[in-house]
Symmetry: C2
Subunit: 318 residues, 2 copies
């Protein structure tokens, strides 16, 4: 099973040393990561970890003119052919906006070479974009010059033990059977919540949603204040609270209280605690568990975890 191998071998991605080709990249005041799905995961996580750097993630087409002062555009597409990332690369070149490309090849690498734009060519090991998070992140950290994080991530090849958490993922998948997951983190850890959500969608092929505390408490929560006639709407959900000891004390309390209120109303609730020594380690430990859980969801429903046929059908139609 290719997805299983991708999870087991994930830690090896951190042996990779990204190399900028085709030009030099200087330090910028701000960065805009243009990437979709699997490629914007990496940007979200870096934004979460390197909170001192001004990073904006844009998951849409580019405007006609790209004029963002003191900002480097990072057009990131694992396949190299994602329409939106290619659009940002082209429009940035036309507008004279500094830009750099990331991809295993495809259009973004071709366009970069033709236009003298710096690029990083990722290793092509045949995995799905969402499994290539290590490669994409290392490339972005290299471009943004996050040298401390690059140094820290070298250890990950030895630290991340995917095999050990498979059973936890399998058990969580069992609990989630016939339910739609809703994942909650603090606002600060939104990249973790978002990652879990899309792993369920892409690998597990099931609906999944996410939100963050404290915002949840100002609206979403009220949608689960079940009364007799509307209670059946809330039944299909299973809530996963992902907690972090370093969260703001009020947000820790908010998650505890939200969990209590949901349990009081009879909902299926799961409480997970982030584990690891550094912020980055915590994130990856959690994402590996998400990978296993999503994989075992696909197993439960006899679904194919690796491919995304609806995306192929979609691409054929647009």
């Amino acid at each position: 099973m290719a997805m299983r191998d991708a999870i087991l071998n994930f830690s090896k991605q951190f042996k990779y040393r990204p190399k900028i080709e085709g030009g030099k990249v200087k330090k910028y005041k701000s960065y805009l990561v243009a990437g979709m799905g699997g490629s914007h995961l990496a940007g979200d996580i870096i934004k979460n970890i390197a909170s001192e750097v001004d990073i904006k993630i844009v998951s849409d087409y580019a405007p006609e003119k790209v004029e963002i002062p003191k900002t480097l555009i990072i057009a990131s597409s694992y396949s190299g052919n994602t329409e939106e990332a290619v659009d940002w690369l082209n429009k940035s070149i036309q507008s004279g906006q500094p830009v750099v490309a990331i991809g295993i090849g495809g259009k973004v690498v071709e366009i970069a070479k033709q236009n003298g734009v710096p690029f990083i060519q990722l290793p092509d090991t045949g995995i799905q974009p969402r499994s290539a998070l290590g490669y994409s992140m290392l490339a972005m950290m290299r471009i943004i010059k996050l040298n401390d994080l690059l140094r820290e991530s070298k250890r990950f090849n030895n630290i991340l033990k995917a095999k050990e958490t498979e059973e936890d993922g399998r058990q969580l998948a069992q609990k989630l059977k016939d339910k739609t997951p809703v994942i909650y983190t603090s606002a600060n850890n939104y990249s973790i919540a978002y990652n879990w959500k899309i792993k369920f969608n892409e690998t597990g092929k099931i609906p999944a949603f996410y939100n963050v505390v404290p915002e949840v408490n100002h609206n979403e929560m009220t949608g689960f204040d079940v009364k007799e006639k509307s209670a059946h709407l809330s039944k299909p959900f299973h809530f996963i609270f992902i907690k972090d000891k370093t969260d703001h004390p009020q947000n820790i309390k908010r998650m505890e209280v939200t969990e209590k209120l949901y349990r009081d109303r009879g909902f299926s609730v799961e409480s997970l605690e982030l584990s690891g020594e550094t912020k980055m380690e915590k994130i990856f430990n959690s994402l590996i568990l998400a990978d296993w859980t999503a994989l075992h969801i696909a197993v439960l429903y006899d679904l194919e975890s690796e491919q995304v046929p609806m995306v192929e059908e979609f691409k054929g139609l647009i």
Copy 2:
């Protein structure tokens, strides 16, 4: 019914002329709106309409030190007592960061007065924060000096015809019976999608989710690629596509194709088109329809549309 009156009288909010008291506010390069739920709606919409202005919305507590160069913090809380907004106001004052407060009174107005911080005191007409969108937006537009938009919105008292769309909202509520809405817009119109979602949560008291195109096509969509054993997970949802003729042509196509793929799979799908002459008018027309739909959802399930008892219970526990 108080919520019904709030919707019918919404257009009258645009007669309001916000006044900055307690100091002057100069023009800034960037703005950070600190606000939750109903109060961050206004920020989201302004960010959508005034895309040329650098506005960041933060729905979380403030960091210990607020040091964001060339940026004005707008601490917005309708009640004036929202913990997170009060936190931003206090920390900004302690850090010497320029800040301005918005509220009907409460702590934010009190703290502003005591510390010589400029503030806008909103009219207190007894409505819920989420119904006070007009007041909050006008106040923010005044602070950010969006004079063209302020001028445009003067007409809204005559243009927005809430009464005329109630029947559409009632019919849509009927179609949504026993379903959980998932609202889709283009990334550019995310504030509309988000507003619909929270209206369903707060006024309708039902679960609701949202997402935006093109991101939907890279992950969420795949979660609805139903196979025999997982099909029951997708059945409880009703998808609402909110379309805009001025969207990027590729996003228009993406929405059409996503809608087709969902219909092919047998899902309940609703397609709405934004109507109105300007961007702001389109947004408000859509939000009034959201208000009516959410109100009639509450009626269908015998729920109380006005109050949010779970929020009160929550506040008592944290």
